[in-house]
């Protein structure tokens, strides 16, 4: 087996037994990047020299190559947010997540492509290029963390880091057939992450297996004095109960998460996956949630408003380029946010959305009174064709229909492969209450132990 194909847990075991070195792992990944990235285009920057030369810290991730979404500040390493505004920006400090990864011994392999400033669900709004889905190069990888998901899928890296505001980890993970974990809002520090919507942004892992996602969360999670919104709750060992059985676990199945516009083949695969969970002893309980279309409206208002506020700081004076370098999607979002926050409209839009946000939170709270976790499709379709995002001014929101409610409520969510439809991966999501990462990882692990979808590789 090629070393770049390994999971974190396999690589850790091989390194421990001295079957290979960290440098060999990095070289295998760099070789793979050279081979396939001209086709996939997952990376904006490959840190070949740094990855090979920087000393490796001792720690749980010692010698493990990790790709990082190009929205995390990396000290001395170009960080662009896939925008011309930051095309040559070199941050003077590391994001907390990057610092933690480095301290744990991880090797930063490179910076992956995304929708510019995370504005999208396809990587098509990147100012540099569009990443291709490794399962079918004529298809999108999803986004905004599309570069990270594609790099993991194509075995260009052992694992990757992404960020999610509403769908940006789980949707590309689903479209690429890998594992994506959106932690509870506040579980992972946002310090040094170029902001999209500050009340929603959640950094998280994209990995080959559920176990790897748990390994990464162990490193990433925790209170950070530099991010006042991080939770103070202690960080459990996410590996501890990973293999516990899910017998008698109550899994809620919301009928609203199987909307009319859904691809029937996706629906079928998810129904099959639910049968697997039922066979493992879980109790499937039909539930009813608010129509997720309301969440799109709430999300659109809140996110655009926070985008308008966050991007107001880009003036090209202290760093970066001037505001005329924002692309059309950036401008469209800034404009709508500025409009809804402007005098006379605040109550009708922003305040109304914040109140509706309360309704969505209460809706989930009620649901979690009856069930332990909620399961459904991650995306209503499999990966769409290149160019699909040009068809609607709200492409991202509509793609993330089934992800926006849980993001708005700040919940934890996991997406993992649940089979294939016409050769493209189908993603299943598991949503849990705040800080229920141990539980949703446990459900995902039980499913992966009973199936082998995660072992399939695209032919590149």
């Amino acid at each position: 087996m090629e070393l770049n194909n390994l999971t974190i847990s396999q690589a850790q075991s091989g390194l421990k037994k001295k079957k290979f070195s960290g440098a060999e792992l990095v070289k295998a990944c760099l070789k793979r990047i050279n081979q396939v990235d001209p086709k996939i285009k997952a990376f904006i920057t490959v840190c070949e020299t740094e990855a090979l030369k920087n000393p490796i810290n001792a720690g749980p991730l010692s010698g493990i190559p990790i790709a990082v979404k190009d929205v995390f500040c990396t000290s001395g390493m170009k960080t662009t947010a896939a925008s011309r505004v930051l095309k040559d920006f070199v941050p003077p400090y590391d994001a907390t997540v990057v610092e933690k990864l480095k301290q744990a011994g991880a090797i930063i392999l490179g910076k992956t492509n995304l929708d510019s400033f995370c504005h999208g669900s396809s990587t098509e709004t990147s100012d540099f290029f569009t990443t291709k889905n490794p399962w079918n190069l004529a298809r999108l990888p999803g986004g905004s963390s599309g570069g990270s998901a594609a790099a993991v899928t194509a075995d260009e890296t052992i694992a990757a880091i992404g960020t999610e505001t509403a769908g940006s980890i789980r949707q590309p993970a689903a479209w690429c057939g890998v594992v994506g974990l959106k932690p509870t809002y506040g579980r992972v520090s946002r310090y040094g992450v170029i902001a999209m919507a500050s009340s929603l942004d959640s950094p998280g892992p994209i990995a080959k297996t559920v176990e790897d996602a748990a390994i990464l969360l162990n490193i990433m999670a925790g209170n950070d004095p530099k991010d006042a919104t991080t939770l103070r709750a202690g960080v459990p060992d996410y590996l501890k109960d990973l293999n516990a059985p899910i017998k008698n676990l109550k899994i809620g199945l919301p009928k609203q998460y199987f909307p009319r516009e859904m691809d029937s083949k996706v629906k079928q695969k998810i129904e099959e996956a639910i049968l697997v969970l039922e066979k493992l002893g879980a109790k499937i309980i039909p539930i009813s949630l608010l129509d997720p279309h309301y969440a799109i409206a709430v999300y659109t208002i809140i996110q655009r408003a926070e985008v308008s506020s966050n991007l107001a700081r880009y003036d090209g004076i202290r760093f970066g380029h001037e505001r005329d370098q924002f692309n059309e999607e950036n401008k469209r979002r800034i404009m709508l946010g500025t409009y809804t926050l402007s005098a006379g409209y605040y109550d009708a839009y922003y305040l109304k959305a914040q109140k509706a946000r309360t309704l969505i939170l209460e809706d989930f709270r009620k649901a979690f009174g009856k069930v332990d976790v909620i399961v459904g499709p991650t995306s209503p379709t499999t990966a769409l064709a290149l160019g699909a995002s040009q068809k609607s001014a709200m492409f991202g929101e509509l793609q993330d229909l089934l992800l926006e409610p849980s993001s708005i409520a700040g919940l934890s969510g996991l997406s993992l492969g649940a089979g294939f439809a016409a050769g493209l991966p189908v993603g299943m999501q598991i949503i849990g209450p705040p800080l229920s990462e141990p539980l949703i990882l446990q459900v995902g692990q039980a499913y992966q132990q009973a199936t082998d979808w995660h072992e399939r590789k695209p032919n590149l």
Binding site: T229, A297, M335
Partner: protein
């Protein structure tokens, strides 16, 4: 219901003047083509958002954050900031160890 939605779309159409005004507030310069495009796209998005009119929110309190954290303070201790050279490194123009900004008065030099 369809009729109702149509009414909303017409009702929420932004005028060209409004688009130009919002662009000014957002410190963005738009081309004539962009103004036209955003006029219809922003109206389209606002029409979608109008779905919220169907739910009653009068009795609800707004949620501005989901963590429940309040009054998060750090110890009032002075710690070292970025060295001057590092802080200035990203700037396109500097003068006397300071960021150079555009003039804000009309008769200033650019």
């Amino acid at each position: 219901m369809k009729k109702n939605l149509k009414f909303k779309i017409e009702n929420l159409k932004l005028s060209e003047t409004e688009v130009v005004h919002v662009a000014k507030l957002a410190n963005l310069v738009l081309t004539t083509a962009e103004v036209k495009k955003f006029q219809s796209q922003l109206s389209e998005t606002l029409a979608y958002i109008a779905i919220l009119d169907k739910i009653s929110t009068q009795k609800l309190l707004p949620t501005s954050q989901v963590t429940g954290l309040e009054n998060v303070y750090r110890p009032d201790e002075i710690s070292a900031g970025l060295p001057l050279e590092e802080a200035l490194r990203g700037a396109k123009e500097i003068q006397n160890n300071m960021f150079k900004t555009k003039a804000i008065f009309q008769d200033g030099t650019k």
